[in-house]
Protein backbone atom coordinates (compact mmCIF):
# COMPACT_ATOMS: atom_id res chain seq x y z
CA UNK A 1 0.00 0.00 0.00
CA UNK A 2 1.20 3.50 -0.81
CA UNK A 3 0.96 6.78 1.08
CA UNK A 4 -2.14 8.85 0.37
CA UNK A 5 -3.25 12.36 1.07
CA UNK A 6 -6.81 13.28 2.04
CA UNK A 7 -8.22 16.76 2.34
CA UNK A 8 -9.47 17.40 5.89
CA UNK A 9 -12.72 18.86 4.57
CA UNK A 10 -13.67 15.79 2.54
CA UNK A 11 -13.19 12.92 4.92
CA UNK A 12 -15.04 10.97 7.58
CA UNK A 13 -12.48 10.69 10.31
CA UNK A 14 -12.40 8.67 13.49
CA UNK A 15 -9.95 8.70 16.33
CA UNK A 16 -11.78 7.87 19.55
CA UNK A 17 -14.40 5.18 19.97
CA UNK A 18 -16.77 7.65 21.59
CA UNK A 19 -17.02 9.81 18.47
CA UNK A 20 -19.88 9.56 15.96
CA UNK A 21 -17.91 7.18 13.76
CA UNK A 22 -15.98 5.62 16.62
CA UNK A 23 -17.60 2.26 15.85
CA UNK A 24 -15.34 2.04 12.80
CA UNK A 25 -12.36 1.71 15.11
CA UNK A 26 -11.13 -1.77 15.91
CA UNK A 27 -11.11 -0.69 19.53
CA UNK A 28 -14.87 -0.13 19.57
CA UNK A 29 -16.89 -2.37 21.83
CA UNK A 30 -20.41 -3.40 20.92
CA UNK A 31 -19.35 -5.36 17.82
CA UNK A 32 -18.71 -8.83 19.19
CA UNK A 33 -17.25 -11.51 16.98
CA UNK A 34 -17.62 -15.27 17.15
CA UNK A 35 -14.83 -17.51 15.86
CA UNK A 36 -14.99 -21.26 16.43
CA UNK A 37 -17.68 -20.64 19.04
CA UNK A 38 -15.42 -18.30 21.01
CA UNK A 39 -16.97 -14.90 21.61
CA UNK A 40 -14.41 -12.16 21.06
CA UNK A 41 -14.96 -8.68 22.46
CA UNK A 42 -13.61 -6.55 19.63
CA UNK A 43 -11.90 -6.62 16.23
CA UNK A 44 -8.69 -5.50 17.95
CA UNK A 45 -8.74 -8.53 20.25
CA UNK A 46 -9.06 -10.88 17.29
CA UNK A 47 -6.44 -9.16 15.15
CA UNK A 48 -3.92 -9.21 17.97
CA UNK A 49 -4.65 -12.86 18.81
CA UNK A 50 -4.01 -13.85 15.20
CA UNK A 51 -0.39 -12.76 15.55
CA UNK A 52 0.27 -15.75 17.79
CA UNK A 53 -1.34 -18.84 16.27
CA UNK A 54 1.25 -21.18 17.75
CA UNK A 55 0.91 -19.74 21.24
CA UNK A 56 -2.57 -20.46 22.56
CA UNK A 57 -1.59 -19.22 26.02
CA UNK A 58 -0.80 -15.80 24.58
CA UNK A 59 -4.00 -15.84 22.54
CA UNK A 60 -5.90 -16.60 25.70
CA UNK A 61 -4.20 -13.81 27.62
CA UNK A 62 -5.20 -11.37 24.89
CA UNK A 63 -8.76 -12.62 24.46
CA UNK A 64 -9.46 -12.77 28.19
CA UNK A 65 -8.67 -9.10 28.57
CA UNK A 66 -11.69 -6.86 28.77
CA UNK A 67 -10.28 -3.71 27.20
CA UNK A 68 -9.14 -3.71 23.54
CA UNK A 69 -6.35 -1.29 24.40
CA UNK A 70 -5.00 -3.56 27.12
CA UNK A 71 -5.32 -6.52 24.76
CA UNK A 72 -3.09 -4.64 22.34
CA UNK A 73 -0.60 -3.90 25.10
CA UNK A 74 -0.43 -7.58 26.02
CA UNK A 75 0.21 -8.38 22.39
CA UNK A 76 3.01 -5.83 22.33
CA UNK A 77 4.69 -7.61 25.22
CA UNK A 78 5.10 -10.77 23.11
CA UNK A 79 5.39 -9.21 19.69
CA UNK A 80 9.14 -9.42 19.10
CA UNK A 81 9.56 -12.99 20.20
CA UNK A 82 6.39 -14.82 19.22
CA UNK A 83 4.72 -13.06 16.27
CA UNK A 84 4.13 -15.45 13.38
CA UNK A 85 7.11 -15.09 10.99
CA UNK A 86 4.96 -14.21 7.97
CA UNK A 87 2.86 -11.66 9.82
CA UNK A 88 4.21 -8.58 8.06
CA UNK A 89 3.40 -9.93 4.62
CA UNK A 90 -0.07 -11.10 5.72
CA UNK A 91 -1.19 -8.43 8.15
CA UNK A 92 -3.47 -6.59 5.70
CA UNK A 93 -5.07 -9.87 4.69
CA UNK A 94 -5.60 -10.78 8.32
CA UNK A 95 -7.12 -7.39 9.07
CA UNK A 96 -9.46 -7.68 6.07
CA UNK A 97 -10.57 -11.11 7.33
CA UNK A 98 -11.23 -9.66 10.79
CA UNK A 99 -13.27 -6.81 9.34
CA UNK A 100 -15.20 -9.20 7.09
CA UNK A 101 -16.32 -11.13 10.17
CA UNK A 102 -17.06 -7.96 12.11
CA UNK A 103 -19.36 -6.87 9.29
CA UNK A 104 -20.89 -10.30 8.74
CA UNK A 105 -21.81 -10.68 12.39
CA UNK A 106 -22.79 -7.05 13.00
CA UNK A 107 -24.41 -6.25 9.70
CA UNK A 108 -27.18 -3.99 10.98
CA UNK A 109 -24.96 -1.89 13.22
CA UNK A 110 -21.50 -1.86 11.65
CA UNK A 111 -22.95 -1.95 8.16
CA UNK A 112 -25.24 0.98 8.95
CA UNK A 113 -22.33 2.98 10.28
CA UNK A 114 -20.32 2.31 7.11
CA UNK A 115 -23.29 3.34 5.00
CA UNK A 116 -23.56 6.62 6.91
CA UNK A 117 -20.07 7.56 5.75
CA UNK A 118 -21.62 8.09 2.31
CA UNK A 119 -19.05 8.52 -0.41
CA UNK A 120 -16.46 10.19 1.77
CA UNK A 121 -12.98 8.82 2.25
CA UNK A 122 -12.66 7.14 5.65
CA UNK A 123 -9.56 7.99 7.64
CA UNK A 124 -8.31 6.76 10.96
CA UNK A 125 -6.57 9.77 12.42
CA UNK A 126 -3.35 8.84 14.18
CA UNK A 127 -0.24 10.87 14.69
CA UNK A 128 1.69 7.75 15.67
CA UNK A 129 0.72 5.20 13.07
CA UNK A 130 0.86 6.14 9.40
CA UNK A 131 0.45 2.57 8.25
CA UNK A 132 -3.01 1.86 9.65
CA UNK A 133 -3.97 5.53 9.91
CA UNK A 134 -2.96 8.98 8.73
CA UNK A 135 -1.58 12.04 10.50
CA UNK A 136 -2.50 15.66 10.13
CA UNK A 137 -0.33 17.66 7.78
CA UNK A 138 -1.66 21.18 7.27
CA UNK A 139 -5.09 20.86 5.66
CA UNK A 140 -4.59 17.20 4.88
CA UNK A 141 -4.38 13.81 6.44
CA UNK A 142 -1.34 11.94 5.18
CA UNK A 143 -0.58 8.26 5.61
CA UNK A 144 -1.10 4.80 4.25
CA UNK A 145 -4.47 4.71 6.07
CA UNK A 146 -4.75 0.97 5.61
CA UNK A 147 -7.65 0.55 8.03
CA UNK A 148 -9.63 3.34 6.43
CA UNK A 149 -9.01 1.86 2.97
CA UNK A 150 -10.13 -1.59 4.04
CA UNK A 151 -13.26 -0.05 5.54
CA UNK A 152 -13.95 1.80 2.28
CA UNK A 153 -13.51 -1.46 0.39
CA UNK A 154 -16.10 -3.12 2.62
CA UNK A 155 -18.44 -0.20 2.19
CA UNK A 156 -18.20 -0.24 -1.60
CA UNK A 157 -18.12 -4.00 -2.17
CA UNK A 158 -20.58 -5.16 0.47
CA UNK A 159 -22.61 -2.51 2.22
CA UNK A 160 -23.57 -0.33 -0.75
CA UNK A 161 -24.35 -3.38 -2.84
CA UNK A 162 -26.27 -4.91 0.06
CA UNK A 163 -24.18 -8.06 -0.12
CA UNK A 164 -24.26 -9.58 3.35
CA UNK A 165 -21.73 -12.41 3.41
CA UNK A 166 -23.00 -14.85 6.00
CA UNK A 167 -19.95 -17.06 5.55
CA UNK A 168 -16.35 -15.86 5.70
CA UNK A 169 -13.66 -18.10 4.25
CA UNK A 170 -10.48 -18.75 6.22
CA UNK A 171 -7.22 -17.29 4.94
CA UNK A 172 -4.97 -19.52 2.92
CA UNK A 173 -1.97 -19.10 5.18
CA UNK A 174 -0.22 -21.70 7.32
CA UNK A 175 -1.28 -22.31 10.91
CA UNK A 176 -4.47 -20.31 10.80
CA UNK A 177 -5.30 -21.35 14.34
CA UNK A 178 -7.24 -20.24 17.38
CA UNK A 179 -6.44 -22.18 20.54
CA UNK A 180 -4.75 -24.88 18.49
CA UNK A 181 -7.89 -25.45 16.41
CA UNK A 182 -8.00 -24.64 12.72
CA UNK A 183 -10.27 -21.80 11.77
CA UNK A 184 -12.60 -23.01 9.06
CA UNK A 185 -15.27 -21.10 7.20
CA UNK A 186 -17.17 -18.97 9.68
CA UNK A 187 -20.89 -18.87 8.99
CA UNK A 188 -23.07 -16.65 11.06
CA UNK A 189 -26.10 -18.39 9.60
CA UNK A 190 -25.08 -21.56 11.46
CA UNK A 191 -25.70 -19.77 14.72
CA UNK A 192 -29.05 -18.58 13.47
CA UNK A 193 -29.98 -22.11 12.46
CA UNK A 194 -28.90 -23.33 15.87
CA UNK A 195 -31.09 -20.74 17.48
CA UNK A 196 -34.07 -21.75 15.40
CA UNK A 197 -33.61 -25.36 16.36
CA UNK A 198 -33.37 -24.36 20.00
CA UNK A 199 -36.63 -22.52 19.93
CA UNK A 200 -38.53 -25.52 18.64
CA UNK A 201 -37.08 -28.00 21.10
Amino acid sequence: MNIRTYSIDDVVVFRKTTEKFGGLSNMASGFSINVNGIIIKSAEHLYQAMRFPLNPDIQNEILSEHSPMTAKMISRKYRDKYTRPDFEQNKFKIMKWVLDIKLSQNWNTFGKLLLETGNSPIVEYSNRDQIWGAKKDGDNYVGMNALGRLLMELREENVKKDIHNFCIQPLDIPAFLLYNNFIETICDEVYHADLEACSTN
Binding site: S32, N34, N36, N181, D188, L195, C198
Partner: protein, 349 residues
Protein backbone atom coordinates in the same frame (compact mmCIF):
# COMPACT_ATOMS: atom_id res chain seq x y z
CA UNK B 1 -17.25 -51.53 49.09
CA UNK B 2 -19.34 -50.69 52.12
CA UNK B 3 -16.90 -47.97 53.17
CA UNK B 4 -17.14 -46.32 49.79
CA UNK B 5 -20.92 -46.44 49.89
CA UNK B 6 -20.91 -44.90 53.36
CA UNK B 7 -18.63 -42.08 52.21
CA UNK B 8 -20.80 -41.38 49.17
CA UNK B 9 -23.94 -41.42 51.27
CA UNK B 10 -22.46 -38.89 53.66
CA UNK B 11 -22.13 -36.44 50.78
CA UNK B 12 -25.44 -37.01 49.02
CA UNK B 13 -27.65 -37.97 51.97
CA UNK B 14 -29.94 -34.93 51.73
CA UNK B 15 -30.93 -35.62 48.12
CA UNK B 16 -34.68 -34.98 47.78
CA UNK B 17 -35.01 -34.24 51.49
CA UNK B 18 -37.70 -31.69 50.60
CA UNK B 19 -39.46 -33.72 47.92
CA UNK B 20 -42.96 -35.00 48.47
CA UNK B 21 -42.08 -38.34 46.90
CA UNK B 22 -41.02 -39.77 50.25
CA UNK B 23 -37.69 -40.88 48.80
CA UNK B 24 -34.80 -41.14 51.24
CA UNK B 25 -31.23 -41.46 50.07
CA UNK B 26 -29.37 -44.18 51.91
CA UNK B 27 -26.66 -46.77 51.70
CA UNK B 28 -29.07 -49.52 50.61
CA UNK B 29 -30.23 -47.39 47.71
CA UNK B 30 -26.67 -46.68 46.63
CA UNK B 31 -25.86 -50.39 46.85
CA UNK B 32 -28.89 -51.28 44.73
CA UNK B 33 -27.74 -48.77 42.14
CA UNK B 34 -24.15 -49.97 41.95
CA UNK B 35 -25.22 -53.61 41.75
CA UNK B 36 -26.78 -52.90 38.37
CA UNK B 37 -23.31 -52.49 36.88
CA UNK B 38 -21.03 -55.38 35.96
CA UNK B 39 -19.44 -56.83 39.03
CA UNK B 40 -15.87 -56.06 38.05
CA UNK B 41 -16.74 -52.37 37.52
CA UNK B 42 -18.54 -51.73 40.78
CA UNK B 43 -15.68 -50.87 43.09
CA UNK B 44 -14.09 -48.77 40.39
CA UNK B 45 -17.26 -46.75 39.76
CA UNK B 46 -17.76 -46.06 43.44
CA UNK B 47 -14.14 -45.00 43.89
CA UNK B 48 -14.22 -42.69 40.92
CA UNK B 49 -17.65 -41.32 41.76
CA UNK B 50 -16.50 -40.53 45.29
CA UNK B 51 -13.43 -38.82 43.85
CA UNK B 52 -15.67 -36.65 41.67
CA UNK B 53 -18.05 -35.84 44.51
CA UNK B 54 -15.13 -34.67 46.61
CA UNK B 55 -14.46 -32.05 43.92
CA UNK B 56 -17.64 -30.29 45.02
CA UNK B 57 -19.96 -31.70 42.39
CA UNK B 58 -22.81 -32.10 44.86
CA UNK B 59 -24.57 -29.09 46.34
CA UNK B 60 -26.44 -29.84 49.55
CA UNK B 61 -29.29 -27.67 50.75
CA UNK B 62 -26.97 -26.05 53.28
CA UNK B 63 -24.38 -25.35 50.57
CA UNK B 64 -27.09 -23.93 48.32
CA UNK B 65 -28.11 -21.26 50.79
CA UNK B 66 -24.53 -20.21 51.30
CA UNK B 67 -23.77 -20.13 47.57
CA UNK B 68 -26.78 -17.92 46.83
CA UNK B 69 -25.79 -15.48 49.57
CA UNK B 70 -22.18 -15.35 48.37
CA UNK B 71 -23.22 -14.79 44.76
CA UNK B 72 -25.56 -11.93 45.64
CA UNK B 73 -22.84 -10.37 47.81
CA UNK B 74 -20.43 -10.76 44.89
CA UNK B 75 -22.85 -8.96 42.56
CA UNK B 76 -23.31 -6.20 45.08
CA UNK B 77 -19.53 -5.65 45.13
CA UNK B 78 -19.18 -5.89 41.34
CA UNK B 79 -21.65 -3.03 40.97
CA UNK B 80 -19.89 -0.96 43.62
CA UNK B 81 -22.43 -1.04 46.45
CA UNK B 82 -20.97 -0.52 49.90
CA UNK B 83 -23.54 -2.74 51.57
CA UNK B 84 -25.97 -5.40 50.54
CA UNK B 85 -29.03 -3.49 51.74
CA UNK B 86 -28.40 -0.75 49.18
CA UNK B 87 -28.00 -3.36 46.46
CA UNK B 88 -31.22 -5.14 47.43
CA UNK B 89 -33.14 -1.87 47.09
CA UNK B 90 -32.17 -1.83 43.40
CA UNK B 91 -32.23 -5.57 42.65
CA UNK B 92 -35.24 -7.38 41.22
CA UNK B 93 -35.43 -11.16 41.59
CA UNK B 94 -37.21 -12.59 38.58
CA UNK B 95 -39.60 -15.50 38.89
CA UNK B 96 -40.07 -16.63 35.31
CA UNK B 97 -40.19 -20.40 35.57
CA UNK B 98 -43.41 -22.38 36.08
CA UNK B 99 -44.30 -23.56 39.60
CA UNK B 100 -42.42 -26.62 40.74
CA UNK B 101 -39.27 -25.75 38.80
CA UNK B 102 -36.00 -24.93 40.48
CA UNK B 103 -36.25 -21.15 40.35
CA UNK B 104 -39.24 -20.89 42.69
CA UNK B 105 -37.65 -23.25 45.19
CA UNK B 106 -34.38 -21.35 45.18
CA UNK B 107 -36.14 -18.02 45.58
CA UNK B 108 -38.04 -19.42 48.57
CA UNK B 109 -34.79 -20.59 50.09
CA UNK B 110 -33.13 -17.23 49.53
CA UNK B 111 -36.16 -15.37 50.84
CA UNK B 112 -35.82 -17.04 54.22
CA UNK B 113 -32.35 -15.56 54.46
CA UNK B 114 -33.55 -12.13 53.32
CA UNK B 115 -36.35 -12.04 55.85
CA UNK B 116 -34.14 -13.22 58.69
CA UNK B 117 -31.26 -10.84 57.98
CA UNK B 118 -32.78 -7.83 56.28
CA UNK B 119 -36.50 -8.03 57.01
CA UNK B 120 -37.48 -7.95 53.32
CA UNK B 121 -39.15 -10.43 51.01
CA UNK B 122 -37.97 -11.20 47.48
CA UNK B 123 -40.84 -9.23 45.97
CA UNK B 124 -40.06 -6.16 48.07
CA UNK B 125 -36.56 -5.85 46.62
CA UNK B 126 -35.98 -3.30 43.87
CA UNK B 127 -39.56 -2.03 43.86
CA UNK B 128 -38.81 1.67 43.53
CA UNK B 129 -35.57 1.78 41.61
CA UNK B 130 -34.94 -1.44 39.67
CA UNK B 131 -31.42 -1.40 38.23
CA UNK B 132 -30.29 -5.01 38.40
CA UNK B 133 -32.46 -7.91 37.32
CA UNK B 134 -31.47 -11.26 38.80
CA UNK B 135 -32.44 -14.66 37.44
CA UNK B 136 -31.58 -17.50 39.81
CA UNK B 137 -31.33 -21.12 38.74
CA UNK B 138 -29.39 -24.23 39.68
CA UNK B 139 -27.58 -25.26 36.49
CA UNK B 140 -27.14 -24.07 32.93
CA UNK B 141 -26.31 -27.24 31.04
CA UNK B 142 -27.72 -27.16 27.53
CA UNK B 143 -28.90 -23.60 28.18
CA UNK B 144 -32.36 -24.30 26.77
CA UNK B 145 -34.41 -23.13 29.75
CA UNK B 146 -32.42 -19.96 30.30
CA UNK B 147 -32.42 -19.14 26.60
CA UNK B 148 -36.17 -19.53 26.40
CA UNK B 149 -36.83 -17.46 29.54
CA UNK B 150 -34.42 -14.73 28.46
CA UNK B 151 -35.93 -14.54 24.99
CA UNK B 152 -39.41 -14.12 26.42
CA UNK B 153 -38.34 -11.57 29.01
CA UNK B 154 -36.27 -9.45 26.66
CA UNK B 155 -38.90 -9.66 23.95
CA UNK B 156 -41.39 -7.72 26.03
CA UNK B 157 -39.61 -4.38 25.53
CA UNK B 158 -37.22 -5.07 28.38
CA UNK B 159 -34.17 -4.91 26.14
CA UNK B 160 -34.95 -1.34 25.18
CA UNK B 161 -35.37 -0.48 28.85
CA UNK B 162 -32.09 -2.21 29.76
CA UNK B 163 -30.11 -0.48 27.04
CA UNK B 164 -31.55 2.96 27.68
CA UNK B 165 -31.22 2.95 31.43
CA UNK B 166 -27.96 1.05 31.82
CA UNK B 167 -29.80 -1.77 33.52
CA UNK B 168 -28.02 -5.06 34.13
CA UNK B 169 -29.27 -8.62 33.80
CA UNK B 170 -27.61 -11.21 36.00
CA UNK B 171 -27.99 -14.96 35.91
CA UNK B 172 -26.92 -16.53 39.21
CA UNK B 173 -26.23 -20.25 39.18
CA UNK B 174 -24.66 -23.06 41.11
CA UNK B 175 -23.16 -24.49 37.94
CA UNK B 176 -22.77 -23.51 34.31
CA UNK B 177 -21.43 -25.27 31.26
CA UNK B 178 -19.14 -22.81 29.52
CA UNK B 179 -20.08 -24.06 26.06
CA UNK B 180 -23.73 -23.39 26.88
CA UNK B 181 -22.87 -19.93 28.15
CA UNK B 182 -21.28 -18.86 24.89
CA UNK B 183 -24.11 -20.37 22.85
CA UNK B 184 -26.77 -18.65 24.98
CA UNK B 185 -25.00 -15.29 24.74
CA UNK B 186 -24.51 -15.60 20.99
CA UNK B 187 -28.01 -16.88 20.33
CA UNK B 188 -29.46 -13.92 22.21
CA UNK B 189 -27.15 -11.54 20.36
CA UNK B 190 -28.31 -12.97 17.02
CA UNK B 191 -31.93 -13.13 18.05
CA UNK B 192 -32.13 -9.51 19.18
CA UNK B 193 -29.33 -8.21 16.95
CA UNK B 194 -27.89 -6.52 20.00
CA UNK B 195 -24.52 -6.70 21.70
CA UNK B 196 -26.04 -6.23 25.15
CA UNK B 197 -25.77 -10.01 25.60
CA UNK B 198 -22.03 -10.11 25.02
CA UNK B 199 -21.39 -7.09 27.22
CA UNK B 200 -20.66 -6.89 30.93
CA UNK B 201 -24.22 -5.72 31.51
CA UNK B 202 -25.36 -9.30 30.92
CA UNK B 203 -23.56 -11.44 33.50
CA UNK B 204 -23.70 -15.14 34.14
CA UNK B 205 -22.27 -15.92 37.57
CA UNK B 206 -21.72 -19.43 38.75
CA UNK B 207 -20.08 -21.08 41.72
CA UNK B 208 -18.94 -24.03 39.63
CA UNK B 209 -17.94 -24.03 35.96
CA UNK B 210 -17.93 -27.02 33.66
CA UNK B 211 -15.24 -26.29 31.13
CA UNK B 212 -16.58 -28.28 28.19
CA UNK B 213 -15.96 -26.20 25.09
CA UNK B 214 -13.58 -28.29 23.01
CA UNK B 215 -12.59 -25.24 20.99
CA UNK B 216 -11.71 -23.11 23.99
CA UNK B 217 -8.32 -22.64 25.55
CA UNK B 218 -7.24 -25.80 27.33
CA UNK B 219 -10.66 -27.00 28.54
CA UNK B 220 -10.64 -28.95 31.79
CA UNK B 221 -13.42 -31.25 30.57
CA UNK B 222 -14.78 -31.79 34.04
CA UNK B 223 -17.69 -33.82 32.72
CA UNK B 224 -18.34 -37.00 30.74
CA UNK B 225 -17.09 -36.75 27.18
CA UNK B 226 -15.47 -39.95 25.99
CA UNK B 227 -12.63 -40.23 23.57
CA UNK B 228 -13.23 -42.68 20.75
CA UNK B 229 -12.56 -46.12 22.14
CA UNK B 230 -15.18 -48.26 20.44
CA UNK B 231 -16.61 -48.43 16.94
CA UNK B 232 -19.95 -49.52 18.42
CA UNK B 233 -20.36 -45.96 19.57
CA UNK B 234 -20.27 -44.81 15.94
CA UNK B 235 -23.16 -47.15 15.22
CA UNK B 236 -25.17 -45.40 17.91
CA UNK B 237 -24.29 -41.98 16.50
CA UNK B 238 -25.23 -43.23 13.05
CA UNK B 239 -28.68 -44.12 14.36
CA UNK B 240 -29.33 -40.45 15.13
CA UNK B 241 -30.41 -39.91 11.55
CA UNK B 242 -32.16 -36.59 12.10
CA UNK B 243 -29.35 -35.08 14.13
CA UNK B 244 -26.83 -33.19 12.04
CA UNK B 245 -25.14 -30.62 14.27
CA UNK B 246 -21.86 -30.71 16.17
CA UNK B 247 -20.86 -34.26 15.17
CA UNK B 248 -17.29 -33.03 15.61
CA UNK B 249 -18.00 -32.62 19.32
CA UNK B 250 -19.27 -36.12 19.99
CA UNK B 251 -15.85 -37.33 21.07
CA UNK B 252 -13.20 -35.79 23.25
CA UNK B 253 -10.08 -34.88 21.28
CA UNK B 254 -7.48 -37.41 22.30
CA UNK B 255 -4.99 -34.76 23.48
CA UNK B 256 -7.52 -33.26 25.90
CA UNK B 257 -7.54 -32.43 28.71
CA UNK B 258 -3.97 -31.21 28.74
CA UNK B 259 -3.68 -32.14 32.41
CA UNK B 260 -6.08 -34.42 34.24
CA UNK B 261 -7.43 -32.49 37.20
CA UNK B 262 -10.91 -33.91 37.48
CA UNK B 263 -10.83 -37.69 37.40
CA UNK B 264 -8.29 -39.56 39.49
CA UNK B 265 -6.13 -40.33 36.43
CA UNK B 266 -6.33 -40.22 32.62
CA UNK B 267 -6.89 -43.97 32.38
CA UNK B 268 -9.60 -43.83 35.03
CA UNK B 269 -11.30 -41.08 33.05
CA UNK B 270 -11.32 -43.28 29.96
CA UNK B 271 -12.72 -46.24 31.88
CA UNK B 272 -15.36 -44.28 33.81
CA UNK B 273 -16.61 -42.54 30.68
CA UNK B 274 -16.64 -45.81 28.76
CA UNK B 275 -18.76 -47.56 31.41
CA UNK B 276 -21.25 -44.69 31.60
CA UNK B 277 -21.57 -44.52 27.84
CA UNK B 278 -21.87 -48.26 27.28
CA UNK B 279 -24.47 -48.63 30.01
CA UNK B 280 -26.30 -45.54 28.78
CA UNK B 281 -26.50 -46.86 25.23
CA UNK B 282 -27.76 -50.18 26.60
CA UNK B 283 -30.57 -48.36 28.40
CA UNK B 284 -31.38 -46.15 25.39
CA UNK B 285 -31.83 -49.20 23.16
CA UNK B 286 -34.49 -50.47 25.58
CA UNK B 287 -36.74 -47.53 24.75
CA UNK B 288 -39.25 -48.97 22.29
CA UNK B 289 -40.82 -45.77 21.07
CA UNK B 290 -38.53 -44.39 18.39
CA UNK B 291 -39.59 -40.78 18.93
CA UNK B 292 -38.81 -40.97 22.64
CA UNK B 293 -35.54 -42.75 21.98
CA UNK B 294 -34.21 -40.02 19.73
CA UNK B 295 -34.98 -37.40 22.36
CA UNK B 296 -32.66 -39.03 24.84
CA UNK B 297 -28.92 -39.47 24.87
CA UNK B 298 -26.83 -41.93 26.90
CA UNK B 299 -24.85 -39.14 28.52
CA UNK B 300 -27.85 -36.93 29.23
CA UNK B 301 -30.26 -34.79 27.32
CA UNK B 302 -29.16 -32.29 24.75
CA UNK B 303 -30.80 -30.68 21.73
CA UNK B 304 -32.21 -33.38 19.50
CA UNK B 305 -30.37 -31.99 16.47
CA UNK B 306 -26.97 -32.48 18.15
CA UNK B 307 -25.21 -35.59 16.90
CA UNK B 308 -23.49 -36.21 20.22
CA UNK B 309 -23.76 -38.64 23.11
CA UNK B 310 -25.34 -36.00 25.33
CA UNK B 311 -24.46 -33.09 27.55
CA UNK B 312 -22.52 -35.20 30.05
CA UNK B 313 -23.04 -33.02 33.14
CA UNK B 314 -21.58 -34.35 36.34
CA UNK B 315 -23.18 -32.00 38.81
CA UNK B 316 -25.87 -32.72 41.35
CA UNK B 317 -27.92 -30.76 43.85
CA UNK B 318 -30.03 -31.83 46.81
CA UNK B 319 -33.14 -30.58 45.01
CA UNK B 320 -33.06 -32.60 41.81
CA UNK B 321 -30.77 -34.05 39.20
CA UNK B 322 -30.49 -32.42 35.80
CA UNK B 323 -31.55 -34.69 32.96
CA UNK B 324 -28.41 -33.51 31.20
CA UNK B 325 -26.45 -35.88 33.46
CA UNK B 326 -25.64 -39.36 32.09
CA UNK B 327 -28.80 -41.42 32.26
CA UNK B 328 -27.31 -44.13 34.48
CA UNK B 329 -27.71 -41.57 37.27
CA UNK B 330 -31.41 -40.87 36.82
CA UNK B 331 -33.15 -43.30 34.46
CA UNK B 332 -35.96 -45.02 36.29
CA UNK B 333 -38.21 -47.20 34.18
CA UNK B 334 -39.12 -50.55 35.79
CA UNK B 335 -39.48 -52.43 32.52
CA UNK B 336 -36.00 -51.29 31.50
CA UNK B 337 -34.65 -52.90 34.63
CA UNK B 338 -32.78 -49.80 35.69
CA UNK B 339 -33.13 -47.56 38.71
CA UNK B 340 -31.11 -44.34 38.83
CA UNK B 341 -29.11 -43.22 41.82
CA UNK B 342 -30.92 -39.89 41.90
CA UNK B 343 -34.66 -40.18 41.22
CA UNK B 344 -35.96 -37.43 39.02
CA UNK B 345 -38.89 -35.08 39.55
CA UNK B 346 -40.69 -33.04 36.89
CA UNK B 347 -39.39 -35.14 34.06
CA UNK B 348 -41.10 -37.47 31.67
CA UNK B 349 -39.50 -40.46 30.06
Amino acid sequence: MRNLITSINQIISDYHCDAASGFTMGEDHIEDWINQFDEHDRMFILEEFLHILKNGMYVSKKDANLILIQQIERLSKVYGYTNIQSFLKEAVFLNLQPNGKSQGDLLNLFEQYLIKNYGVTVSECGVFNPRHYIYIDDIMASGKTILKDCKEWFNSKNLEKCNNKEITFNIVLFCKHLWAESRVRWSLKCSFDDNYFTSSKFRILSRYEISDDLNSHSPLLNLTIPKKLSSIWDVYLGSLTEADAYHDRAYRYSHLPKTENFYSSPSNRDRFEQILLDKGIEIIYKIEDEEKRKNHRPLGKTYSHYKTFGTGSLFFTWRNISNTCPIVFWWDVPKHNWKGLFPLINRGN
